[in-house]
Assembly symmetry: C2
Homo-oligomer: 340 residues x 2
């Protein structure tokens, strides 16, 4: 059974009204609010078909219809024209972001901005380590047998780590280590570094071998295993908009999910460049979030991606608006990073 244009129009109307009013929408109300040019009875017939196809459902007999996840999906895929942001919104973004002093600040501002504009929970991933390149490695003597290793990446991120040395080091040793390490690794993408670290040890003369081995193992941890990604979160209070109606009665599972970095990373990870992804309801594969939708986008200078960002809200959300905002913010942040 194919859906003709009018049925699609009915679906769109249902989604739009439901998103706005938060109440099941009936045939009469539909024809009143949208000029469909047909009678309620006709709409009812269309609704029956849409329901049979699984795009809408009735909470109970004799209630209006509510879109299903599949209905939202169809709406997003075929019925959504992304509206460009209003000039006011564009200005809001710029006003909000201008004056950011460092990476931390950029990320924090971005996440608050997203939460504020979309009125949903916002998540921003810090520029991922594995996709950045090493800008500089610094070794700072803390005591004679301890070094602080500081790595600075081209996205402005800084990681530090304490290194215990096997024996005491002289000032000159530190100098030499620093030179060698930077010579080999500076400018390299983190993902490419492990074999280089290996050669670093091999090229060492016996006298410095032990020290370098020690340093290398911490380097590897910092560079690779510790690609542990950082996240910023904002706007959790927005979950309470719409009362207890969204999220089937309790915020608990949602709040729990939001505390798991792994889950959040899954939600906004693995994105295609320059596209915005929408996960509706249990498409996100996470049990606690089956009544939530996620709109996410990768960001980075040019067409590369160094991280993801997105928002999470009830499946009953304003998709066109949210998509437009997420996309715009992602672009803006990308451009911002490109400038550095």
């Amino acid at each position: 059974m194919s859906l003709d244009d009018r049925k699609l129009e009915v679906l769109r109307a249902i989604v739009e009204d439901y998103v706005e009013t938060q109440e099941p929408v009936g045939s009469k109300a539909l024809v009143d609010r949208h000029k469909l040019g047909v009678s309620p009875a006709t709409v009812r017939n269309d609704m029956a078909v849409l329901e049979e196809e699984g795009y809408i459902r009735q909470p109970h007999t004799s209630a209006g219809r509510v879109p299903t996840d599949a209905g939202y999906r169809l709406f997003v895929d075929r019925l959504t024209k992304i509206k460009p942001l209003s000039p006011a919104e564009r200005r809001a973004i710029e006003r909000f972001m201008v004056g950011a002093v460092d990476l931390d600040d950029v990320v924090h501002r971005t996440v608050r901005l997203l939460a504020q504009l979309t009125r949903h929970v916002a998540v921003v991933q810090y520029p991922s380590l594995s996709r950045s390149a090493v800008r500089h490695l610094e070794l700072v003597p803390i005591s004679t047998t301890r070094l602080m290793l500081v790595m600075i990446t081209d996205t402005g991120r800084v990681e530090q780590r304490l290194v215990e040395m096997p024996g005491p080091l002289a000032e000159g040793d530190v100098w030499e280590l620093r030179r060698r390490v930077n010579e080999k690794l500076a400018g390299q993408r983190l993902a490419d570094t492990p074999p280089l670290v290996q050669t670093l040890v091999e090229e060492c003369d016996a006298g410095r071998r032990a020290t370098m081995t020690c340093l290398a193992s911490v380097l590897l941890e910092t560079l690779v295993e510790r690609s542990e990604e950082r996240l910023a979160l904002a706007g959790t209070a927005n979950l309470t908009r719409g009362g207890v109606l969204d999220f089937q009665g309790t915020l608990r599972p949602v709040l729990e999910a939001l505390e798991e970095e792994v889950i959040l990373l899954k939600l906004i990870g693995d994105l295609e460049p320059r596209t915005t992804r929408v996960l509706i309801g249990d498409e996100n594969q996470i049990d606690n979030l089956r009544s939530a939708s996620v709109v996410s986008s990768g960001y980075g200078p040019g067409t590369t991606i160094v991280g993801g960002l997105g928002v999470l809200g009830p499946t009953r959300m304003d998709y066109p608006g949210t998509i437009a905002t997420v996309r715009a913010v992602a672009r803006y942040v990308g451009d911002l990073l490109a400038q550095n």
Copy 2:
């Protein structure tokens, strides 16, 4: 009107029962559950007095009594013996914290641990900049006119900042700047640095003056103004325990408050060394949190304080247990920092 011992005992019983059952407690239930050695009628008389004094109240006539904020206050001040942590809890703390690799990790583990043990929302303040000392300042050339300034403190915290130079710098210049800056500032408490930065500029010869001025202004920002404190948060899902009953129906105001760093800092800031502070209900002076209590404690190596930590929950919370846990965790983290 003074409260004799039995009346205090009645108050204690009311608080304990109410915290446990979450329901107003009546005179009959009280004598059943606690061996007070008197009849319900007597308890009723005591209750009438306690109510008149403002320590308990009735949600409505013919309901049991509920403690007021003042009642909790009295309970905490005069009726609470801090129970030492069980060995199991002690072990839990150690097991949880062991293997923390850096400051970030310590803070994150601590905040999750606190949330898990107390079953409330936990907040941990990163070791405050202004109370730490400079361990090392590093200058990393990014381009000929740009430097990355990295500051490492004795609590392991690292701050970075980009500095735009007035003109191109040679390798030797950077070297010289680094030497001077560290000579002057390393080892100093951040709070004491501003005048030193000033002399740093003054001692400069004319050739380097402009550069140093530029660097100094960023230094001041980083060292002082940017004492902007960082925070970690965990356990927001715990707010939903106890259903909608706590927090008078909606989590909204609480979630909103938790997003404001300023508010959180106020809650866990300004603590006396080695003490645990309890703020009950609107004692915290924050409108959104009038139905919440905060138990907080300063932490740091020895008797100094480098930051605060604490938990936030409904006024109806297990004060003795929470206080004990917060105190124990604060001590543990302090000891951990002392080891470095």
